[in-house]
């Protein structure tokens, strides 16, 4: 290829890439300032609460065209924390999450729609090796500046899943089937 033609191709490709990413911001999830909290009924009496202490992933957000946005989250099951070591161990055992077989939970979006601060995020939620499509309502917060001058963005969603849908059927008479989830995400703009 002639040098002139090569330079022209590079310019065209660069321009194309620039156009395709124009308007989309990528946020790297800040695991310290994000929270994944769950609650589940114990013996039908009352809910106990737990959380996962590690969340990683990225959110790409295109305000002009939300359909071009995407969410990709990974949560290590080992990071479960219910304020009781024995219960944490039991939840990680084959009776529930089976953490040695299924070390992570993931969510990958397939479709995002909405305007302003309210979005419907559809995607594949994988827990305990089982992947199910879910659609959640995500409320976007306002962007702000962090201590280092970085731009931060985020939002929150609350939804409920049935653990039996994810093949976690053991002891449903003692530990409820409905799991209520609060996911609050904060990310640093890249």
């Amino acid at each position: 290829m002639k040098p002139g033609k090569l330079i022209l191709n590079i310019i065209i490709c660069s321009f194309g890439l620039g156009l395709s990413s124009y308007g989309a911001d990528t946020y790297k999830i800040d695991g310290i300032h994000s929270s994944l909290i769950f609650s589940v009924k114990h013996f039908g009496v009352t809910d106990f609460y737990g959380r996962f202490n590690e969340i990683t992933g990225t959110v790409t957000f295109d305000a002009a065209d939300p359909s071009k946005s995407s969410v990709d989250i990974t949560v290590p099951v080992e990071s479960i924390d219910t304020h009781n070591d024995k219960r944490n161990g039991h939840l990680k055992s084959p009776d529930f999450f089976n953490a040695k077989q299924f070390p992570t939970m993931t969510f990958k979006s397939t479709k995002i729609e909405g305007t302003g601060d309210n979005y419907k995020v559809s995607g594949d939620l994988t827990i305990h090796g089982v992947t199910k499509p879910v659609t959640i309502d995500f409320k976007r917060g306002t962007d702000g500046k962090g201590g280092q001058g970085e731009t931060r963005g985020g939002g929150e969603t609350r939804f409920t899943i049935k653990r039996s849908d994810y093949d976690m059927k053991f002891m449903t008479n003692a530990v409820g089937d409905d799991v209520h989830i609060i996911l609050s995400l904060e990310g640093v703009k890249e």
Binding site: N84, D85, K86, G89, S93, P94, N98, F170, M171, A174
Partner: protein, 278 residues
């Protein structure tokens, strides 16, 4: 009480299914059909009991411990055929090794994904499959020296109970429930004694594979120390000690001898794992 309510229905189902097949074996006049029916008894007894615990599952199972009922069915059918065809012992054991290796490869898929190198994994699979064969050989030797029809089933029940207890201590009630189901299927085999038939030969391959698979699951996916698993797997060898010459009742003495390594395993499991009460 809660645990009993959780465990008993599946165990009772396993007993009934296994006893049903063995009842047919007792009524069947043909001698050669009895051992295959006994294999089917323990295999389907475990299969149904396991499904009763987990509920209906997708195939192939996501959770690799849910391969266990399929292993039980496969080894029951193959070992039944081996007996019908009167295959040589070496050939029977070779089939047991091959099916065990395949079963353990499926069971330990996560270890290949997250831990072992392929070569390392296949060495482990070969060693564990050889252990299944070793346990089967030991149990067949015990069957050959047993003095009462109840002796071998009693030994298998003691092993199931030991497996159940160490798996509970390893932090998984689910795995311990599977061990209880195995014990239930063995208990159902006792129906053969009603027809004055010595139970055992059809039970051994299925039992050996399931026992090792459960112990391996405990070590791989729960917190069962390997030392406990080894002690329980090799405990039946204690029944081969020459006690027949002593002027003591043989069956209780053998049961006691087999219980010794199991009690040591329980002690070790208790001291290395936290109880589930919280």
């Amino acid at each position: 009480m809660f645990l009993l309510k959780q465990i008993l229905p599946a165990v009772i189902i396993a007993v009934m299914v296994a006893a049903g097949w063995c009842g047919i074996a007792v009524l069947w006049k043909k001698e050669s059909a009895r051992v295959p029916l006994e294999s089917l008894g323990i295999g389907t007894g475990y299969f149904v009991g396991h499904l009763f615990v987990t509920g209906w599952m997708v195939f192939p199972p996501k959770d690799t411990t849910n391969w266990l009922p399929f292993f039980a069915a496969a080894i029951a059918i193959v070992s039944g055929f081996c007996r019908v065809l009167a295959l040589r012992t070496s050939l029977r054991l070779l089939f047991l090794f091959l099916i065990s290796a395949l079963a353990l490869r499926l069971l330990l898929k996560p270890r290949f994904e997250y831990g072992w190198l392929p070569s390392e994994g296949y060495v482990w699979i070969s060693l564990l499959a050889a252990t299944v064969v070793l346990v089967a050989v030991i149990l067949e030797s015990v069957a050959s020296v047993s003095v009462r029809p109840i002796e071998l089933p009693l030994l298998l029940l003691i092993l199931s109970a030991g497996c159940f207890a160490v798996l509970i201590l390893s932090g998984s009630m689910l795995l311990s429930q599977f061990a209880a189901v195995l014990g239930g299927a063995v208990f159902g085999i006792l129906a053969l004694t009603a027809g004055k038939i010595n139970p055992g030969l059809g039970t051994i391959p299925v039992f050996a594979l399931l026992l090792i698979a459960l112990l391996v699951s405990g070590c791989s996916f729960a917190e069962l120390p390997a030392s406990c698993a080894i002690l329980i797997a090799l405990a039946p060898a204690m029944a081969l000690l020459p006690v027949a010459k002593l002027s003591l009742p043989v069956v209780p003495v053998r049961a006691l001898l087999v219980s010794v390594p199991i009690l040591v395993a329980l002690f070790l499991a208790f001291h290395s794992s936290p109880p589930l009460s919280y």
